[in-house]
């Protein structure tokens, strides 16, 4: 059942993925600058430029270039970087772990903040605790990540000297050093993510708390803890998981500013550098990988629904 559902969703995602390749190709095509000149420099002669353009396929019509590019992409070949001549796939494979490291730790921190906060706020609805939690989530929603990051760098790196100023250390080379170097970026992004998470979980719990089965469970005299764990939290987690999926997919390429402030060599920074240096195969590759990742994560999130709530029949006209 689950595998049939996943296959159906993947099939339905094909036109979307196709559109994504088209958008990526067109956007990158319109970025001005001549890749041949990037390779040969500004003083290259016309003949040499024409030869490089021909070797890169830049002298072909647009639709041909798209089809050639697409056929390479389908075979897992994202081309070579114009500047470094390295395979784009390799460059992405080197940057992706950094971004995943940042995003996964930040999301973990955000969940550790938002689940207890959202739950308590809903249970203590319209009290000072609720007000405090709502204010916190509003803070998370409104604070610019780059500013919060700089304030944290000033306090914890420059003044207290608890953590290094910038840079990335892999957890496989130095675990504790890595934890210290990632502390500030993770806190910055975690606070930012916890805002919407707390808000969604609180609203979703309030909805579930008002539902009949919860009222009945309470009226039957079931212990409050059991009602919350079995009836409320479980149901409230369904929309919450959607938020997590969207945030995760978005952050694969959207953590650009945080990566920039903390000098983390992740996907976002690689993309910005690619755009600045007109290295269009790198930009195309990253945007394509990130967008495809977003679509796939959303399909997985949908599949998770059935695990959290068996009443939802996958692919069978369910209630969600």
């Amino acid at each position: 059942m689950m595998s049939t559902y996943l296959l159906k969703r993947l099939a339905a995602a094909i036109p979307v993925l196709f559109l994504i390749t088209l958008v990526v190709f067109i956007v990158v095509y319109f970025i001005p600058g001549d890749p041949a000149m990037v390779i040969l420099g500004h003083d290259a002669n016309a003949q040499a430029l024409a030869a490089v353009r021909h070797s890169l396929g830049l002298d072909r019509p647009l639709h041909e270039r798209y089809l050639i590019w697409l056929s390479h992409v389908l075979r897992g070949d994202l081309g070579l970087s114009i500047l470094s001549r390295k395979p784009v796939l390799l460059m992405i494979a080197q940057a992706l772990p950094v971004t995943l490291h940042l995003v996964l730790l930040s999301m973990l921190l955000a969940v550790l903040i938002s689940v207890p906060c959202g739950t308590i706020a809903a249970l203590k609805h319209n009290t000072w605790v609720d007000l405090l939690v709502s204010s916190w989530s509003l803070f998370g929603l409104s604070v610019p990540g780059f500013w919060l990051g700089m304030v944290l760098i000033y306090i914890f790196s420059a003044q207290l000297k608890w953590v290094p100023l910038q840079g990335y250390i892999s957890p496989f080379s130095d675990f504790w050093g890595s934890l210290r170097s990632m502390a500030l970026p993770v806190v910055t992004l975690g606070v930012f993510l916890s805002g919407p998470q707390t808000r969604y979980l609180r609203a979703s719990m309030l909805d579930v708390l008002a539902q009949e089965h919860v009222v009945v469970a309470r009226a039957k005299g079931l212990r409050a803890r059991s009602v919350i764990a079995r009836h409320v939290l479980r149901n409230a987690l369904i929309p919450f998981v959607t938020v997590l999926g969207i945030q995760f997919g978005y952050l694969l390429g959207g953590a650009v500013v945080i990566e920039e402030i903390f000098a983390l060599p992740g996907l976002g920074r690689l993309a910005v550098n690619g755009i600045e240096s007109r290295d269009y195969p790198v930009v195309q590759g990253i945007v394509l990988v990130v967008a495809t990742g977003f679509v796939l994560v959303n399909i997985l999130v949908d599949a998770l629904y059935s695990v959290l709530d068996p009443r939802i029949r996958l692919g069978g006209g369910s209630s969600h």
């Binding site: 994504i20 319109f30 409104s142 993309a271």
Partner: protein
């Protein structure tokens, strides 16, 4: 559910005082909205009266005063060129508000009609627009904005276009949802039965009734636009120096973070307060327009 009738509603104020009394009740009841609107009004005032209220010329370079900490002469301190940071923050309001306003207008003018038409038509039109929206949603907005700016070149005009374009899918999605909720209502069926054209039904009958969610969307869209505009300027892709811009000033201030933390602190605080004001307004409007969710 609330069952008690508020005392104010039982009292019958005189007709002449009714308007004022209602306004007072509304302000007292909708604290969130009031605080948000008051803060927005303050920023609007700063933008409009920047020339009058700024203590100094934001571009006046006075090198002997460079990187001076906050004092009575310079409340927010000075930057690396000796320019008054308070004056630059006040003038920076203009840049952020202008870019946000135009980009929200772009997103509204394209996204809302697309969403309304998609939701109303259903069938293949909705299918195509829905698929395009799905595809556009898959791109991280900031990455897409950077790519769009790469096409048009760095600067305020490119930032406006990029921020407007990346917000279109969200505007279309909300408008489509609002349309789907409205289109089976009786007044729409009646208009259809009377033979009204689809354009008349969509834009004259339904659009005014989707005003609530769209107003909330516009308010939150502004917050989103301000955050993106300042992020792009921070990355050096939006407003360019020496234009007073919160994001660009914050980015330059970053170089002096250790020796002059005030340089980046105050522009960042301004961004935070304006986004907070817009979020408060969005929340307040949602409460006001959706009484069912008011206690949420």
């Amino acid at each position: 559910m609330e069952t008690t009738v508020p005392r104010e509603l039982l009292a019958r104020p005189r007709a002449s005082r009714l308007g004022l009394a209602r306004a007072y009740q509304a302000v007292a009841r909708w604290k969130t909205l009031s605080v948000g609107l008051a803060l927005i009004a303050l920023f609007l005032f700063c933008a409009l009266a920047a020339g009058v209220i700024s203590p100094y010329d934001p571009d006046a370079v006075v090198y002997p005063d460079a990187l001076k900490p906050p004092s009575t002469a310079h409340l927010f301190g000075t930057d690396d060129h000796g320019r008054d940071i308070l004056s630059r923050v006040i003038y920076g309001t203009r840049v952020s508000l202008v870019i946000a306003t135009i980009s929200v207008a772009i997103a509204s003018l394209i996204g809302i009609p697309a969403g309304l038409i998609s939701g109303y038509s259903g069938g293949w039109v909705d299918g195509i627009i829905g698929r395009v929206l799905d595809a556009l949603f898959a791109f991280p907005v900031i990455l897409m904005a950077i790519a769009i700016i790469a096409i048009f070149g760095s600067g305020e005009r490119s930032a406006v276009i990029a921020i407007g374009l990346i917000a279109i899918p969200e505007f279309a999605r909300v408008a489509r949802g609002a349309m789907i909720a409205e289109k089976e209502r009786e007044y729409v069926l009646a208009a259809r039965a009377l033979g009204a054209s689809w354009a008349r039904i969509v834009f004259r009958s339904i659009l005014p009734n989707t005003f609530g969610p769209i107003m909330v969307l516009i308010s939150l869209g502004f917050a989103f636009a301000i955050l993106n505009e300042t992020a792009l300027s921070f990355l050096g892709l939006g407003a360019q120096p020496p234009t007073p811009s919160w994001g660009a000033d914050l980015a330059t201030g970053r170089r002096y973070l250790v020796q002059a933390p005030w340089y980046s602190f105050f522009p960042g605080l301004a961004i935070f307060l304006l986004v907070l004001a817009l979020n408060l307004t969005g929340d307040g409007l949602r409460d006001l327009l959706d009484p069912r969710g008011r206690r949420r």
